[in-house]
Structure formats: structure tokens, C-alpha cells
């Protein structure tokens, strides 16, 4: 930023920021700046800018103030009533409020990352085309149209080594070339933003924080493949993403970046948003196309692949949001630069949504190949509440759990598959010693069972049978033969299912049996849950030699079932207890079992 630039106040306004009151904070800034006449006081213009998600959603509202004197300073947990003081001290008196500044972990969180796809997120106003153009926006498509043939664009993407970020990891350049090679003049391009994987929200953040970057990525793909119509299929659960993307599309039409003869470059591209209606299976490409056509979102066998027969029978290319987000950077900076990042088989960076029992939950973008332990401990600060790490679940309902002893696994497509998990869309759910692996398996299976479209038998019935067995185990009625039955069923379902949902649904169970077989055996043989998680197997009593008499459990109990006096051991009244487990979570010393 140049020396004499205005003072910038960046306020994080993703879904996380807004629900923590970012709109009120912005209003407070605007109000106080005007009332005090700060612009005149400091002799500079003060711009209040809303930005997309900065990643550390747990600490919202995040406010960055950029002044020529202090550079960039971040304040976290900002409340509207603090705004006046921040303006007085930081902007008018030019002294940083050390007490309110984000603690050093914020810098660690940011510095350890490598932001490529998310460069715009949290930096620019997502509604402003001018802000995007300042960040080299639409330079990549211009370069393609003016100096590259479509074949050269595909070749460049192939050389970069970019692989699909939706989970499968298919080389993007190859996919484009298949669709380009299909005969016919009319082809469709689809951006898959049906991010249904619980625990992953990078696509949402990209669409909310930098929608123009996705539009440009799609324009480049359309130019390379030779299609003139694109759909973005967005989940209905993401109203803000839909609103920002629709705004961006409207502006692009007004400014001639979409439509006929874009910018006089002689290319045409139209775009439309399709809203999903709440079905996880629609993230699968054939189900997604059925949904756009107005049918139930049921998958169909492949081949024919969408590149040959896709939407309404025309050749269709489908990529994930994050994949499109990479494209403009590859064109701008060159495939050689992109290929220099990451590992042998996984190039570039990957965005992960790190959630669960970790100190700093949020979105992190790291070079592929970083160790999982580095992501969890170095970037995200390790495990919350002083507890012990147990496992990390990678890849959502299609992935698996990675235990502590192989935590040095690098995050790339092939290493994760070798570890029994998968990249998936990039959700990392961290679990500590209080999370029961059998219960987690049951949770995922319950999810995939409900979301199964019901077309093929292995998925529809097989998953239900597996779920029944798991429920029996968590209720204390398991038999030792159950483990083998689960493994057999899982293997059969993986082989026989029609689409990705069924083919991967048994993964969470198989991987937990592989790494945490002893937990299954404890549930079955001893009728005990080692993590004290499965309600039916809990004793509901205080472990006297672990209790430190702090009374935290009494405060947490909603029904006064805990008897405690200062300096006394706690006692749990089983008559009153509703088995809600609030006390168990409140206890930091594992003294309730």
C-alpha cells in the first residue's frame, strides 16, 4: 500500500462475523468516525470496508486497522461499545491499544499459513468489482483470451498439476480436455458449491469473501473448454453466499464481464445460480445434474461420464469452488510457480476447516504436504481444555480417523488415502479423549444413511443394517461377532454401491475399527465406554480421587442434581439426573464417569 493512502478499517463479515455482531460494529465505526470528524482530525480519509472471512471465526468480530504509521493491527472480539475507544486511541492518538490487540497466537495462526486461493478473503470488499480489479482481477482471463489458445490454457493447467479440490482429486486439466474433446457446440460448465460435508465451510467462505475470483475461474474454464453457459449449484443453507455471488454476477453483467462479447474480446459466457434444496447427495455430480434438471437428486451409473453426456444430454464439465479459485493464480503466476508448491503428487495449497476440540477453530490454507500435526498444533494452537489428543477425522462422512501415532502424515491426496482417510473437501475435526470413536462412527453412518438417495440397495439397506449394529453396540448390547460383520458389510457396500456416497460411507467405520478396535471391544465385552461418551454405558458418579472439589459441575448442571459445598467432594444425585452430560463436559479433571 502506498504511503499517502487512506486509513483502512477492515471488518470481517462472513457468516461467522455477522452472527457475532459485525454489522453493529461496522455501524458503530461509521457513526463515531462521522461524529468526531476523524477524517479532518487526522487529515486522511478513513474507509470502513467489509471483508470476507479471515479464517479465525472463533475470535470474531475481527477488525484490522491499517494506518501509515502503525501498518496493520488486528483487534479481536470487538464489541460495538468498544469502537469509540479504539478510534480515539488508535486512529486519533496513533497509539495501539495493546490490551485489546489480538494475542500473539493470531500472528502464528496467520504466519504459518500460505494464502493463495484465499488471498482476497478478508482483504477486499466482496461486493466491489473495483477492489477485485485492484488485486489483478480479470487479468488472468484477459491474458488467456489475448495471448493463449484454449489448448494452451488446458496445457498450462495440466502442467500445474492442479487436482480437483472437491475430494476425488482428479487432475483438473485432464477433465477439461475430456470435455473439450467431446463433439458438439453446446456444452455446460458447472461449479459445484453444494458443500454438504458437515464440518467443512471453505467453499462458503470463498463465495462470501471473493466471489469474483470464482467467476473468473469459471470464465477461464469456459474459454478453454468452449462452453458459453455456466451454473453455480449452491446449497440453500448458504443464503449469504448466494446473495454475494448474485450481486457479483449482476455487477459483471452491468460492467460487461459476463454476457455477449465480453469486454470486446469476442467471447460469450452466461452464468446462473441454482439453489439446492437440502440434499447431501447432490454434491455427487450426476445427482447434481439431475437436481438442476428439476428431478430428484439421484445419481446414475457412469459411464457415460458428464464430459460425454451431462446436463440435458450435453457435454458438461463440473469442478469444485476451490478448484476454480486456483485457476486464475495458475494463469497469472504460471504453472511452474504453482507446481513448485506442495508435494510430488499434490500441487499447490489446500484449505482446511479445522474444527472440534482444538483451540483456534477456523479456516487455514497451507501448502499441500504439511504434516497434520503442524496444522493442529502449530497453526491452530493444539487441543482445547488441557485434554489429550485422540484422533482427527479427515474427509467428513467419506473419510476416516487418523490416530495420534501417525499424526505426521502429510496432507496430500495419496498419503491420506494410505492412512485410511481421504482429503475429501478438507474438513478436519479434531477429537480428544472424551470423544468416543464408536459414537463418531455411529454419527457419520446416521448421516449418510439419512442422506442416501435410496436408488441402489447396498447403500440404502446396507447402511441401515450397519447403523443398527452400531446402535446396539453403543447401547451395550453388542456381540463380539459384530465387528467382523461390520467389516464384511462395509467391504461389500464399498464395492457394490452406485456412487461416491455409498462407496465411501463405510470408511469412517472401517478406519475406526482399524485404529480403535479396543474401543469397540470395550463396548462389547465390558459394556463400558472408555471415553465416557455413550450415555447408556455411563455410571453417573463422581470419581472421588480425581475430583478437585472445584464445583464446576454444579454450575453446569441444569437440574441441580449435583450436591457440592465449597471444599467438599461433589456428589451426583442419580434420582434427579437427566443424563444430559453437562457436568461431564464442564469437568476439566475427568472426574465424572
Amino acid at each position: 500500500m502506498s504511503e499517502n493512502a487512506a486509513i483502512k478499517i477492515l471488518i470481517c463479515q462472513g457468516t461467522g462475523g455477522i452472527s457475532m455482531g459485525a454489522k453493529e460494529v461496522e455501524a458503530a465505526f461509521v457513526k463515531h468516525l462521522a461524529e468526531k470528524g476523524v477524517d479532518a482530525l487526522v487529515g486522511k480519509r478513513c474507509d470502513v470496508i467489509k471483508t470476507g472471512c479471515r479464517g479465525l471465526c472463533a475470535n470474531d468480530v475481527l477488525v484490522d486497522i491499517i494506518t501509515p504509521e502503525q501498518g496493520r493491527v488486528t483487534y479481536d472480539f470487538v464489541k460495538p461499545e468498544e469502537v469509540e475507544q479504539i478510534i480515539d486511541e488508535h486512529i486519533v492518538n496513533k497509539s495501539i491499544m495493546e490490551k485489546r490487540k489480538a494475542k500473539p497466537y493470531y500472528n502464528t495462526f496467520v504466519d504459518k499459513q500460505m494464502r493463495v486461493v484465499m488471498t482476497g478473503c478478508g482483504q477486499i470488499d466482496p461486493d466491489s468489482l473495483d477492489a477485485y480489479k485492484e488485486e489483478d482481477g480479470f487479468k488472468a482471463i484477459e491474458k488467456c483470451v489475448k495471448s493463449m489458445k484454449p489448448e494452451e490454457v488446458i496445457e498450462e493447467v495440466k502442467k500445474s498439476g492442479l487436482r480437483g479440490r472437491g475430494g476425488g482429486g482428479f487432475p483438473t486439466g485432464m477433465k477439461w480436455s475430456f470435455c473439450k474433446a467431446s463433439p458438439g457446440d453446446h456444452k455446460y460448465l458447472i461449479c459445484n458449491a453444494d458443500e454438504g460435508d458437515p464440518g467443512a465451510f471453505m467453499d462458503r467462505s470463498l463465495l462470501e469473501g471473493d466471489p469474483y475470483c470464482i467467476i473468473e475461474g469459471m470464465m477461464i474454464a469456459a474459454y478453454a473448454i468452449g462452453c458459453d453457459f455456466g451454473y453455480v449449484y449452491v446449497r440453500a443453507e448458504y443464503p449469504l453466499a448466494v446473495q454475494r455471488l448474485q450481486h457479483a454476477i449482476d455487477v459483471c453483467y452491468e460492467q460487461g464481464y459476463l454476457g455477449k462479447n465480453i469486454q470486446g474480446w469476442g467471447i460469450n459466457f452466461d452464468m446462473r445460480i441454482k439453489m439446492g434444496a437440502g440434499a447431501f447427495v447432490c454434491g455427487e455430480e450426476t445427482a447434481l445434474m439431475a437436481s438442476i434438471e428439476g428431478h430428484r437428486g439421484m445419481s446414475r451409473p457412469r459411464p457415460p461420464f458428464p464430459a460425454v453426456r451431462g446436463l440435458w444430454g450435453y457435454p458438461t464439465n463440473i469442478n469444485n469452488v476451490e478448484t476454480f479459485g486456483n485457476v486464475r493464480h495458475i494463469i497469472n503466476k504460471g504453472s511452474a510457480w504453482y507446481a513448485s508448491l506442495g508435494t510430488e503428487t499434490t500441487k499447490g495449497t489446500k484449505i482446511f476447516a479445522v474444527t472440534g476440540k482444538v483451540k483456534h477453530t477456523g479456516l487455514v490454507e497451507v501448502p499441500a504436504g504439511m504434516k497434520i500435526s503442524e496444522v493442529i498444533y502449530d497453526v491452530c494452537g493444539g487441543i482445547a481444555n488441557n485434554r489429550k489428543f485422540k484422533a482427527v477425522q479427515a474427509g467428513g462422512p467419506s473419510g476416516g480417523c487418523i490416530p495420534a501415532d501417525i499424526l505426521d502424515t502429510p496432507v496430500d491426496y495419496d498419503s491420506l488415502i494410505k492412512a485410511g482417510a481421504m482429503m475429501g473437501s478438507g474438513g478436519l475435526v479434531v477429537m480428544d479423549e472424551t470423544t468416543c470413536m464408536v459414537d463418531v462412527s455411529r454419527f457419520f453412518l446416521n448421516f449418510t444413511r439419512m442422506e442416501s438417495c435410496g436408488k441402489c440397495v447396498p447403500c440404502r439397506i446396507g447402511l441401515k443394517v450397519m447403523l443398527d449394529i452400531l446402535e446396539r453396540i453403543t447401547e451395550g448390547h453388542g456381540e463380539i461377532s459384530d465387528i467382523e460383520t461390520l467389516q464384511d458389510l462395509g467391504a461389500a457396500i464399498k464395492k457394490a454401491s452406485l456412487c461416491g456416497l455409498g462407496q465411501t460411507a463405510p470408511n469412517p467405520i472401517l478406519s475406526t475399527i482399524n485404529y480403535f478396535r479396543h474401543e469397540y471391544e470395550a463396548h462389547i465385552n465390558d459394556k463400558r465406554c472408555p471415553s465416557n461418551c455413550c450415555k447408556e454405558l455411563l455410571l453417573w458418579q463422581v470419581v472421588e480421587d480425581k475430583c478437585v472439589k472445584c464445583g464446576a459441575c454444579k454450575k453446569a448442571c441444569p437440574v441441580d442434581a449435583i450436591v457440592w459445598e465449597k471444599g467438599q467432594l461433589a456428589f451426583l444425585d442419580k434420582e434427579k439426573c437427566t443424563k444430559c452430560k453437562s457436568c461431564y463436559d464442564a469437568c476439566r479433571f475427568m472426574a465424572i464417569e
Binding site: 452472527s19 470474531d60 439453489m275 434438471e293 474444527t355 441444569p558 444430559c580
Partner: protein, 170 residues
């Protein structure tokens, strides 16, 4: 409970103003793949898809009512019965699950006397478990209409229900 809702449904059916639905259909009539946008528009307008509207859409878009019924029951977003004034959604995604979402759900069940995807007879509340709302940093998460409540506890459920019990139904 469900019988009561069913009765109300049949009682309310004759009052449906079909001109609203016709307007929505006019807007999308020439678009390919228009069934979903039309149903979504009707859902926004009426709050659910009344039988009469479904029949009208079938007639005008030239699709079988059975196909419409298939679509309506396939997607979680569509509803065939009137919904409550306050829609309580509790996230049961992975991050919320490991942070204790199940007990939040059960407490709501107890307080409201309804289960998943059910509506109270006075049409005050509809309760839904939903998969990931995408705000995992604040797990466990609940929403009432558009208001978000993060880091939920059993006590907070009490407060929310007490608060919304006092709000007017209209």
C-alpha cells in the same frame, strides 16, 4: 399431534390464494429445469407447499403430480404442512456433535414436546435438526429463524424457549 396438524392443513386449504403461485410460474415458465425454482418460490411465498399449489404447478408445467410429490419429499427444504412462527434449527454437524449437540436437541424435545421436523399444535414452533450450518467455530450452534445462538448449553435452551414463549405469534 400430527393429526391436529393434518386437520389444520385441510381446514386451511380452501383459503389458498393461487394468484401468487401463478405469478411465480409465469416468471419461470420458459426456463429449462424450472420445477425446482418454482417450488422454491412457492415455498417462500406460502411457507409450505399446499396441495392446491402443487396441483396447479403440475397442471401448468405439464409434469405429473407424483413427480412433484417425489421432488418435494426428496429434498429436506420443502414442506407439505404449515410451519411454526419460530423455526428452531439445531446444528448436528460433526463439530457440533463432538461438542455436545445431542443434549441440546434432547432438551429442546423436552421443552417443546415435539420431535424432529414437527410443529407445535399452536403453530408457534417448528423444530429441526440440520446438518452443518457452516459456523463450526461457535459449536454447538442453534438458530431461531435468522438469529444465531453459539456455544449452546442446556441452560441457554431454557432461556431461548422462555424468551420466545413471550413473543407475539403474529
Amino acid at each position: 399431534m400430527s393429526e391436529a396438524v393434518a386437520q389444520q392443513t385441510t381446514e386451511q386449504e380452501p383459503e389458498i390464494d393461487l394468484s401468487l403461485a401463478n405469478k411465480i410460474i409465469d416468471k419461470y415458465i420458459d426456463m429449462p429445469g424450472n420445477l425446482m425454482p418454482v417450488l422454491q418460490g412457492a415455498q417462500d411465498e406460502y411457507g409450505y407447499i399446499p396441495r392446491a399449489v402443487a396441483d396447479l404447478i403440475a397442471e401448468r408445467l405439464n409434469v405429473y403430480p407424483s413427480q412433484i410429490y417425489g421432488v418435494l419429499t426428496f429434498y429436506a427444504q420443502f414442506h407439505l404442512k404449515p410451519r411454526g412462527r419460530f423455526i428452531i434449527r439445531v446444528c448436528v454437524g460433526t463439530a457440533c456433535h463432538v461438542q455436545g449437540a445431542p443434549r441440546i436437541v434432547e432438551t429442546f424435545f423436552d421443552k417443546l414436546g415435539i420431535g424432529h421436523a414437527e410443529t407445535t399444535p399452536d403453530l408457534r414452533y417448528t423444530f429441526e435438526k440440520v446438518a452443518c450450518l457452516g459456523a463450526c467455530g461457535m459449536a454447538p450452534l442453534a438458530m431461531v429463524n435468522d438469529a444465531t445462538y453459539g456455544s449452546m448449553t442446556v441452560q441457554k435452551v431454557d432461556q431461548i424457549v422462555t424468551d420466545y414463549n413471550q413473543r407475539p405469534l403474529k
